[in-house]
Symmetry: none
Subunit: 290 residues, 2 copies
DNA sequence: AGAACCGTGCAACAAATGTTTCATGGCCGA
DNA sequence: TCGGCCATGAAACATTTGTTGCACGGTTCT
């Protein structure tokens, strides 16, 4: 398992796709999108559903280096075969060094993050969401790496409450927004150790302004959690790697948005539909293929 | 006698098994034990491996109530189809509308996300990281909600490779950067369905420019994955909630950065220390209390 | 413009598929 | 022991499979 990994037939297909004739690209995409049917149903059957010529499948297979459709399909079925590789196999080998050290690192990291997720307090998130639901306005803060989480939360909340949500500092220096904080509003601060001075300043301003303060942090002792009405804890340091993990923080943010949306009921749903309709009208997204 | 509920073709088979002729029992057991091969390989092929007569398979199918082997195999194929069967029946059971509905939603969401993390391909990430390690320059793209993941990846990579990493469009319109792509560089595109037109444009530009294209997506059929040298898959839709989950994408990004850092060795470590020292000198962080 | 080329759909091909028939051999009841 | 029954394997069947040759239409190069 030391070699650069034999690429799966699907990735071979994907790599070759752009350099293929138009019609072959179509069927290639169809195969990639329906690879399970590709392994089970017949070539003519697939051709009928894809609205293409049966011969195109044979030609596609040959174009990406197989002797024919039969061989491509055989490769696909082998790739799909339920692997008997137990999730512990990688760990059982227990090699910390050598060519597989990277894979081991990733596996450990993912497993640690997966183990941390269920430890997040759902009750705390639900409570915080109720607060958000009642807030007149929602401010979101996160600096450095936490900025990414802040932006996702901002993005999702604005899908159904566009005028009431914004990132601190979005329209000018952060300091300008700090003065705008007022009671009845909610401020969300995201951070973990080492804590950024700026985030603590925001938290303190929020507290002094009498807003509802929600902290997403790695510890109740975090400085931005002081005086917070809600503290949502995640595990940042249990995962290996050179940098703390933000997976937990992101999961919290997503759940927070999901419950807030749920509390919003019909009104929120309508807002979301409006937003989606506007995006569709602007043809932001790639049209779905039939 | 009432007909047993025909849950799955396999259980039908198991029930009828004892009342079958000896030879048919053998074949039936073989099918039950190798149902994946039963759906993919041919009848004669199976017969050869089972050491039985091909006709026995037709007779088996008829004996348990199917019109022939074709129909039995079709039933087995449908039973094995991956998408519809969610690994967790949590979603199947009706969502409660009581006061605990929110907590249930969060718990389900976190559990689903935790279950998806270990399914991420560590090998694919390790391969992609090796590519990043050798890249002269790294471009990162992600639009709309994926922007958050893109920014985190950008942030972490810049900690130890500051001059060689940047987000597409960071210094002006995206289009300006597209022209700057050149071989030896790597372009990372993050996206999931529905796919943004802009991200597809970036992917195509990257492909045409001959850069190494790395796609972080929810499907190998994603348009930005076409022609990609590496595709890192995450599960976006398995988690409940009004919006797809980005937890998997974030986990991938973090692992990617971690392994790339690891490959960087001493040089990367030194760069990281320099960055940290600079941040400390600017007193970005709250001083640790003794 | 002419010619060479390529992508594409159609139709015919040989091979392989699932099914059925038939002959055989063993089993049990009369 | 004979006669009917049924399970079983081998071979012949019609169908479907994947493949390939061919002609048409469009593009590109000379």
């Amino acid at each position: 398992m030391a070699e650069p990994a034999k690429s799966s037939p699907l990735s071979e297909l994907r790599i070759a796709l752009p350099s293929l004739p138009l019609r072959l690209q179509e069927v290639g995409r169809f195969v990639a999108a329906n690879d399970y049917d590709a392994t089970t149903r017949s070539m003519r059957d697939l051709a009928a559903e894809a609205g293409a010529d049966p011969a195109a499948f044979t030609r596609l297979a040959k174009a990406i280096g197989y002797s024919g459709w039969d061989e491509l399909r055989a490769a696909l079925t082998e790739a799909r075969r339920p692997s008997q590789t137990s999730p512990f196999s990688a760990r059982a080998k227990g090699r910390r060094h050598g060519p597989n050290a990277d894979v081991t690192l990733i596996t450990d990291k993912l497993e640690a993050e997966a183990a941390d997720l269920p430890r997040i307090s759902a009750h705390a998130i639900a409570d915080a969401a109720r607060t958000l639901h009642g807030a007149k306005r929602i401010w979101i803060t996160g600096y450095r790496s936490c900025r990414s989480v802040a932006e996702l939360l901002n993005y999702e909340l604005r899908l159904f409450r566009p005028e009431q949500v914004q990132i601190v500092g979005a329209s000018g220096p952060d300091d300008l927004d700090l003065g705008a904080f007022s009671p009845g509003e909610a401020v969300i601060v995201i951070g973990f150790m080492p804590y950024t001075n700026a985030s603590v300043r925001v938290a303190q301003a929020a507290y002094r302004a009498g807003t509802t303060l929600i902290a997403i942090a790695d510890s109740v002792a975090a400085p931005m959690a002081e005086g917070a009405d809600h503290v949502l804890l995640f595990e940042a340091a249990s995962s290996p790697g050179f940098f703390p993990s933000l997976t937990g923080a992101l999961a919290i943010a997503q759940s927070l948005a999901a419950v807030t949306f749920s509390l919003g009921g019909t009104a929120a749903r309508k807002r979301l539909q409006d937003t989606e309709a506007r995006l569709a009208a602007a043809s932001t997204y790639v049209a779905e293929k039939g």
